[in-house]
Subunit: 228 residues, 2 copies
DNA sequence: ATCTAAATTTCGGAA
DNA sequence: TTCCGAAGTTTAGAT
């Protein structure tokens, strides 16, 4: 629906949208989205499900102000309330969409980890996989491997290699190097992109940096890409 | 526009939406939103501005598959690409909305700070406000007050009290207690909701926890809300 | 422009 | 179910 409207929200905060022409989207679960003709994907205002929408007639004061209809959307659990005052309806249509199969995504850290585990020699010739998500007292190391000489190698994987990731790997290495079964453990910081600051910090701590080419790794994995 | 479509995205990740009926919203800045009939306000897939949309004719293979139209949205800077394959158009309409005055909001941390400053006795009987946003070398303390005995009290305010907030307040307290004009400074961690871990850490460090009832504070402040 | 922190965050996975 | 952390995060404010 396209309508001239003003919107008031009272819930976790109070907010008001002055009179303007906007797009109103009512989903089948009762949720409501108020969009302007620009900006990002985030609506100007909204109500998340579960919620209920009730359409009401304006009182005499509201009618005099030019309001033809009022929509009230309430969130049962939280008590949040959204009130849309409609002044003029420019377009109104309803459609049955049916359920959506949902988004399939990949390319995240999990997939990167799976690919690197399969192509463990990217760490260097003769490397072998010990296991993914190797558990330590302070959390799981993304990948534990052994180099050609049999020495332990701990790998921290990130999509974007930042300082935080280096710190994380440093903590793991410190801990693992106290374990006589594992020590000495060297570290590899692997990411699709490594920030200069992160690289400097890592190399300063003797951690090797490895930039991963995701497309190439995926191409090696299976050549039948879904896209294009 | 309502259409049967499938969507492919290649950018920071790869994603695919199988064939289904969905709502497609094209904004005046060229951005595109793909919504299903449910879920939250977040689209299934989208392209943020600045980006450009080009409508293309399907090739023979695509035509055989039932595709009548293809939309390609590209983000100039990042190279992200979104391809919408349209199989059937169920509804199509365009509207001029004009610019939006934008959202007016209040009730966030700033409002909470204002309310607590006005109702400073919530910290305890006899407390007085020194000032809001008291500046220190490492940043502003949300509220500085004095208790009934005249001792300094530093308050860190959060909507949701988390570990981070306790760490923040701890840093402030450490610094302020080195200042002979202020010391001794006690700490109060005030929030609408305090996570158990944060509470434990705070109390372990001698920081008092204070849960704030925003609605009650607002009710005390003024009974004439803008809404309803 | 760059960075930091909050968000009516939303969303997914693990404990 | 709850908690924790990432997100194609987005957004607003400050430096």
């Amino acid at each position: 629906m396209i309508a001239k409207c003003s919107v008031d929200y009272a819930g976790r905060l109070s907010a008001h949208l002055p009179l303007a022409t906007r797009l109103l989207m009512v989903k089948s679960d009762g949720s409501l989205l108020v969009h302007s003709d620009g900006g990002s994907y985030k609506p100007l205002n909204w109500m998340s499900p579960p919620c209920t929408l009730t359409v009401g007639e304006p009182d005499s004061v509201q009618t005099d102000a030019g309001i033809t209809e009022t929509w009230t959307v309430t969130h049962a659990k939280t008590g949040d309330k959204l009130v849309v005052s409609i002044y003029e309806t420019l377009h109104d249509s309803a459609h049955e969409l049916g359920s959506d199969p949902g988004l399939q995504k990949d390319g995240v850290e999990a997939h990167l980890q799976k690919l690197l585990a399969e192509q463990i020699d990217l760490l260097g010739d003769g490397h072998t996989l010990v296991r993914r998500e190797y558990m330590t007292a302070i959390g799981p190391v993304d990948i534990l491997a052994r180099d050609a000489q049999g020495a332990s190698v701990a790998v921290e994987l990130k999509r974007r290699g930042d300082i935080d990731g280096v710190e994380q790997l440093t903590r793991y290495l410190e801990l693992m190097n106290r374990d006589p079964h594992l020590a000495p453990v060297s570290g590899v910081f692997a990411a699709q992109e490594i920030k200069p600051q992160a690289r400097t910090l890592a190399e300063d701590r003797g951690i090797r940096c490895l930039v991963l080419d995701y497309d190439a790794m995926r191409g090696l994995d299976n050549a039948d890409g879904r896209l294009f």
